[in-house]
């Protein structure tokens, strides 16, 4: 057996696709849901979501799910919950190389023994359902009226999702047959070194708009997802968000604006159920146009032509007063603002000729020794 065959064979040893981790970010802004309640009340949306989660879990025994609430002012895990719930969850990831008997034999769940009466309910499904409903009602109960804003902390939820995905990826890679000694950032920088032990993806159920205030943190998370090749899927139920569209476009996720919010389950099952390994074979629903506008740093206004500080790349909607950059305090040369920064060297040909000429000259002059 020669080396090429050996390596080729080795890389294909695991014939089943890696399990996928679906991280759902649920926008729980009470204002927005109140507006939506005639067509799609939150309870109905949660019920639809649970069906979708069950379908995802049923796809592969090792599939995992995490649900994060992006509330008006904070982001919180809804499932899994910290401390006692997390340990069976991590154990569950260890068993994906084993077989079926591990699924219910290996989970020392002690907390969720209250609703054992329903014998027809598959246990993992029930566990998620009860945890999700409990934590969601806790979240809504602890919301004070003063913290109600029309926006939602999507940046926090995305950051939490990413740190959680990072943890799960690390756990999965240490249990895989060839553990890599590299750190997570090494994996991030060279995603091609090893086959991914886990297919993570993020799904955002978005109902509120006005995210311009979190422009920088959102962009940071988008960029991180891009590097880690984690697609961000968006189910846009209501509201208008320029940046989420960019997020899904930059990370090759799916963006669907729900025309009929009542049919949420249909959208979820058709548009968002397939994971990365399936998507290669399917024609994904694509957004026709993508709004790539940016938010200015001075008024958080969304602009399509902006003025950019060459030092710190802050975007302004108009030349700042006194020609002083509001972010870095540099005095900017205003007179030049219409001038073109050289992004693509148009006169490349000419320049190269000149450089070559220089080289030839150098050749003539150069005498080693």
């Amino acid at each position: 057996m020669n080396a090429v065959d050996g390596s080729d064979h080795y890389s294909k040893t695991s014939d089943e696709p890696p399990p996928s981790l679906l991280t759902i970010i649920l926008d729980t802004n009470p204002n927005a849901w109140a507006l939506l309640s005639p067509t799609l009340p939150l309870s109905a949306a949660i019920a639809n979501l649970l069906v979708f989660i069950n379908a995802h879990l049923a796809f592969n025994n090792a599939n995992k799910v995490a649900i994060i609430a992006s509330h008006t002012q904070r982001a919180e895990f809804l499932y899994p919950l910290p401390a006692h719930e997390i340990s069976p969850h991590i154990n569950g990831s260890n068993t994906h190389n084993g077989d079926v008997e591990m699924a219910d034999g290996d989970e020392p769940t002690v907390a969720e023994e209250t609703s054992t009466d329903d014998a027809n309910h598959y246990r993992p499904f029930r566990q998620i359902q009860s945890t999700l409903l409990t934590s969601l009602s806790t979240l809504l109960k602890t919301t004070s009226p003063t913290s109600l804003t029309p926006t939602t902390s999507i940046a926090g939820a995305l950051t939490l999702a990413l740190t959680y995905i990072n943890r799960c990826t690390l756990n999965a890679s240490t249990t895989s047959p060839n553990p890599t000694t590299t750190t997570p950032s090494d994996n991030a920088l060279n995603p091609d070194t090893a086959p991914p032990p886990l297919h993570p993806r993020i799904l955002i159920l978005s109902v509120s708009g006005d995210l311009a205030h979190q422009y920088i943190p959102i962009m940071n998370t988008i960029f991180a997802c891009q590097r880690l090749s984690i697609p961000i899927d968006i189910a846009k139920i209501s509201g208008d968000t320029v940046f989420l569209q960019q997020a899904s476009d930059a990370t090759h996720g799916t963006y669907i604006k729900l025309e009929h919010p009542r049919g949420l389950l249909q959208y979820l099952m058709m548009g968002f159920l397939p994971d990365q390994s399936c998507r290669g074979f399917l024609v994904a629903p694509t957004a026709v146009g993508v709004d790539f506008r940016a938010a200015c740093f001075c008024h958080r206004r969304v602009v399509d032509v902006g003025f950019v500080c060459s030092i710190c790349l802050s975007i302004f909607c108009s030349p700042p007063e006194g020609a002083i950059c509001l972010t870095c305090g540099t005095h900017l040369q205003l007179g030049e603002y219409g001038e073109k920064p050289a992004v693509v060297a148009k006169k490349k040909k000419k320049k190269r000729d000149m450089v070559d000429g220089k080289a030839k000259e150098a050749t003539v002059r150069s005498r080693p020794g």
Partner: protein, 495 residues
């Protein structure tokens, strides 16, 4: 240089042979580091003495501590917000002379440089998406263009791949390479940086004229030259780095790579945009100006239309925000009206240089036991408590002052060739590992595990706690948050 012998081991007893780290350079004579370290003679680290058995009789606990120290070491970097030249023009000069066929860096200096260059190109455009890169090679006393100045990483990588078919030969010429770089950077706009990065494996330079005249010309055109040496310090490189970077210490501009990993670190360091001094008007060449840019939206036409850039019929494309001509790809310049068209994600890639996430503090056991936080806020991994972690703490405490050295021993263990101990790096990792395994963000007071610490600082550049705490949105809604944060950071850094 032929007598530089990696495998050469003096007659020491067999069981000690593999543990000894043999420094090189007694034969070559002149291998020294940029920090003034001399790698003369033998240097031995007794890494085995630092490994302490845990209570269970294994060394797992020590190894874990070492891994954590290693992760943390790379993390603790300066988070002072600085002005950086983010729109860059960088020319990479590759030494293609016979000196590059030396095998002291595996597999050879030449092949390793080509491999790292490919990685560098990718990383450079990740970090500096609106910058320009060019590659110049020098051999046989000549300078040649490997890849002309452009913003397309794929072109550069393809051009560098072609070098694999060639052999390094002849002698390098610093002067010719620098002259060519100066000519290529001549047209760079004033608001961009002008940089040259030289990878110099040779100890000589075969120049047609007085290289000092070239250096003076470089200084006059505000071109900053950085050099990574592969063999030993060379006086002319030192002069070159000093004169073209008057405000920077030599250790940042001219360094000799000690081993493969160090070489890579030095090389990748150049992907971070350089800091620019506050006085931008005189002195250095970077001038600040306000650039008008368009953030176009993507469209998909029902039927193909001609694009303005190639006059090819396409369906998808981007419409210029000013004149609505259709272009195929971004970033580019509108062929009709000249407006720079970019994606805001391109700009956003640089924001973490401007608004860096502050380093998180180690949490002591005293503090950790008082706090109610029992698991990492980011990933929910439960923290170890004091009792279960006792044996680990003891072992790491015993090796506390030495773990930096062990960590280095380990990294060197991965690469098989003998290396010089980089002492300056060990100073940075003296502290940094938290005894309780918790790291606290001082802004939001949340505790995080080491993995989240590394991940948040190196990949996401957001603090999960700060982004999801109550009140953050109100603060942001009042606008000027970034300015406030920047000032706050600066104050705390100064105090």
């Amino acid at each position: 240089m032929a007598d530089t012998d990696d495998e050469y081991v003096q007659d020491i007893s067999d069981d000690e042979v593999e543990a000894h780290q043999v420094t090189r350079g007694a034969g070559g004579g002149s291998r020294a580091t940029g920090q003034g370290l001399r790698g003369g003679g033998w240097e031995v680290t007794r890494t085995w003495e630092n490994v302490v058995e845990g209570a269970d009789g294994t060394i797992n606990s020590t190894v874990e501590g070492l891994l954590e120290a290693g992760k943390r070491k790379r993390l603790l970097k300066d988070t002072t917000p600085l002005q950086r030249g983010i729109i860059r023009h960088l020319l990479l000069v590759l030494d293609l002379s016979t000196a590059m066929s030396e095998k002291d860096l595996r597999p050879t200096r030449y092949l390793l440089t080509l491999r790292y260059t490919t990685a560098f190109i990718t990383e450079f455009f990740e970090q500096n998406p609106i910058s320009q890169l060019g590659i110049i090679g020098t051999r046989d006393g000549l300078a040649l263009t490997i890849s002309p100045l452009s913003g397309n990483p794929n072109d550069h990588i393809a051009n560098v791949q072609k070098l694999h078919d060639q052999e390094p030969k002849g002698q390098p010429s610093l002067q010719n390479a620098l002259d060519m770089a100066r000519a290529a950077l001549f047209h760079a706009p004033t608001h961009t940086t002008r940089e040259v990065l030289i990878l110099f494996g040779s100890l000589i330079s075969s120049d047609p004229g007085d290289v000092h005249i070239t250096i003076s010309a470089l200084v006059k055109s505000h071109i900053a030259v950085q050099i990574i040496g592969l063999a030993a310090q060379v006086a002319i490189c030192q002069t070159l780095a000093n004169r073209t970077n008057p405000s920077l210490p030599l250790s940042q501009t001219y360094t000799v790579a000690l081993n493969e990993q160090h070489y890579r670190d030095l090389f990748m360091r150049a992907t971070t945009p350089p800091t620019t001094p506050q006085s931008t008007k005189e002195g250095n060449g970077v001038q600040s100006s306000l650039l008008m840019m368009g953030f176009p939206s993507r469209i998909v036409d029902p039927s193909p239309t001609l694009c303005a850039c190639h006059s090819r019929p396409t369906r998808g494309g981007y419409l210029c925000s000013r004149c609505s001509s259709k272009v195929c790809s971004l970033p580019t310049q509108c062929p009709a009206c000249g407006l720079t068209l970019i994606l805001s994600t391109h700009l956003a890639r640089s924001y973490h240089h401007l608004f860096p996430l502050r380093n998180w503090k180690e949490v002591s056991w005293a503090k950790a036991s008082v706090s109610k936080q029992t698991c990492c806020f980011g990933c929910q991994m439960p923290f170890l408590d004091r009792s279960t972690n006792n044996h680990r703490r003891q072992s790491s405490g015993a090796g506390g002052q030495n773990h930096d050295r062990i960590a280095l021993g380990m990294t060197r263990g991965q690469t098989k060739t003998p290396k010089i101990v980089p002492k300056t790096q060990s100073a940075a990792s003296k502290d940094g590992v938290s005894e309780s395994g918790r790291y606290e963000c001082e802004t939001c007071g949340r505790f995080f595990c080491i993995d989240c610490d590394v991940f948040a600082h190196e990949v996401v550049h957001n603090c999960p706690g700060c982004q999801s705490r109550e009140g953050i949105l109100q603060a942001q809604a009042h606008g000027a948050l970034d300015i406030g944060e920047m000032e706050g950071l600066e104050e705390s850094q100064n105090s």
